[in-house]
Symmetry: C2
Subunit: 314 residues, 2 copies
């Protein structure tokens, strides 16, 4: 076979090898914990607003591309209680940063009977396991890509945690202009991320329209039961978790509070299974995780055929 691996391709090959080992390790941990792998749909019906989803011409009708398993996970946890998927996800994201792809893969987990606290423990255990497996099995590739694997060896549970309030205070102390209630944009995530040497959670975000399906904190209803996992060394968010609303009245109330017309979330309401047990989940971005693990300048380097706002070639 003719080969034409230059230095660029040697790097691509090393990253792809780490990618393979990362997904193997995640599957192995999840399978060992009794999570069942499922596949949700990619083509979604047009039933209400979908501002972040790509539009597809479906035999002359409107359809959209999936933004994740979450709306569909109730149906799967009703069958298996603990499920996950490894699947492509799409987002209309007109950003030219080094962190955004329009097509990316996620390891997405959902489980019935788990509150947010329990789900954060699942998440840190899984991430720590994957990091330790890569430390053991991908040393050659990672030393070639980032010079050392010390960052992986430091990963230990429990992960450090700060609240959104603490994050805002820390950022304001660095003379950064951020007001309580604003989302953490990419620059702010990066600043925070440089303050840590291992993955850490940011918890207790303010309620927002984007996460209308998350429960509110029962004591401080202006906060959501959700958390982001940030990679250290300036890499920022790699995963987000939340406890979803399982009561119909509560969901309709939350839609009203976040100024969403229930008709605009018809697709979500039609799939929703209400129950007495709590339900939580998280979604880990494969490419963003790899960007940190492999210490890559641009997330595009984590995948062979990156799709960005600027480019969809080849």
């Amino acid at each position: 076979m003719t080969t034409r691996l230059g230095v660029g391709n040697q790097r691509s090959k090393a990253v792809l090898k780490v990618r393979v080992k990362m997904l193997d390790a995640a599957r192995s941990w999840l399978g060992g914990q009794g999570f069942v792998e499922v596949q949700g749909p990619i083509l979604l019906p047009a039933a209400g607003e979908r501002p972040h989803n790509f539009h597809v011409n479906y035999f002359g009708q409107s359809a959209y591309l999936s933004g994740g398993l979450q709306p569909y996970s109730d149906v799967f946890v009703e069958m298996f209680e603990k499920v996950y998927t490894v699947a492509p996800t799409f987002r209309v994201e007109p950003s030219k940063t080094k962190r955004h792809l329009t097509e990316f893969w996620r390891v997405e987990i959902a489980a019935s009977g788990f509150n947010l606290e329990q789900m954060l423990r699942v998440q840190e255990e899984m991430v720590a396991y994957v990091c330790h497996e890569l430390f053991k099995d991908a040393g050659e590739e990672l030393c070639f890509l980032r010079g050392s694997t010390e960052n992986l060896n430091r990963v230990k549970v429990p992960f450090p945690r700060i609240t959104y309030d603490e994050a805002v205070e820390r950022l304001q102390r660095t003379k950064c202009r951020i007001h309580w209630g604003e989302p953490l944009n990419w620059e702010n995530e990066q600043r925070l991320s440089l303050m840590f040497d291992r993955p850490f959670f940011v918890t207790d975000f303010p309620v927002s329209g984007e996460t209308y399906f998350h429960k509110s904190n029962p004591v401080k209803p202006e906060l959501s039961l959700c958390a982001d996992l940030l990679a250290p060394e300036g890499y920022g968010e790699i995963s987000s978790a939340g406890e979803t609303i399982t009561d119909k009245k509560e969901l309709l109330k939350k839609l009203k509070e976040t100024q969403i017309e229930p008709a605009d979330r018809r697709w979500y309401l039609s799939l929703k299974r209400f129950s007495y047990a709590p339900k939580s989940g998280f979604a880990l971005g494969v490419e963003r995780f790899l960007q940190w693990i492999c210490k890559l300048e641009n997330v595009k380097e984590t995948t062979s055929f990156p799709r960005t706002y600027e480019r969809i070639y080849p």
Copy 2:
């Protein structure tokens, strides 16, 4: 957790369990044989004709949804020689049969250094392994769904083979109207499939525009180096295999013969890596395989959120 599994959902759950075990078995066999799991792109650029692909609005530009890894597999086999993917695939298919989904998952394999004969052996070994694993591990679900697992126990390598010529003769003997050169449509596949009690190959199809990337038979250039795997009991095609052209002149000649403008396959030509080694692959349709394994009337029953020509809900 509240549960509302009726009889319908008990069936769905059994099918999903078989699906999980099927994909586990396929991954386990492929991993054991040194195949590396990769992920190709789902969003494709508009560079030439894509009559069977769904159109996506990509920031005001044209893009399409993937019809399989094949056009991208050269890039991956250049790095790893033996690769596979488990990924969603899309096809504009305005058919109302019990065999067609517009969104389905495939286990798709590609390898450098393998001619068609070698690839058919990989394929039958993998399918037989998966069948035997399901016989051992999914007996409960399969007995519930189809009454017995005897069909799986009969699967042995090598699989029976007939040529396309023999298939046409057999069909003509049943008074079926088919002329040499026509594709085997669904009704004809079904008739043939009823003549077998285990999976079988149909080989040596006539050259057609749909498989312009396959090599022609060096002795009989009117035939392609490709083969379909058909399930027995009336289920029909579950997988197709082929040896791809690895020489540029040969590819341009084939495009001419099949009356395709090279400009209409710009996307394919831009990805093509030419080499001296042969290259072959196959793609197994997860849902069609499951339809046979679970003995289901309609392929829609193999997946939780089927997408068909008629319906994309919920």
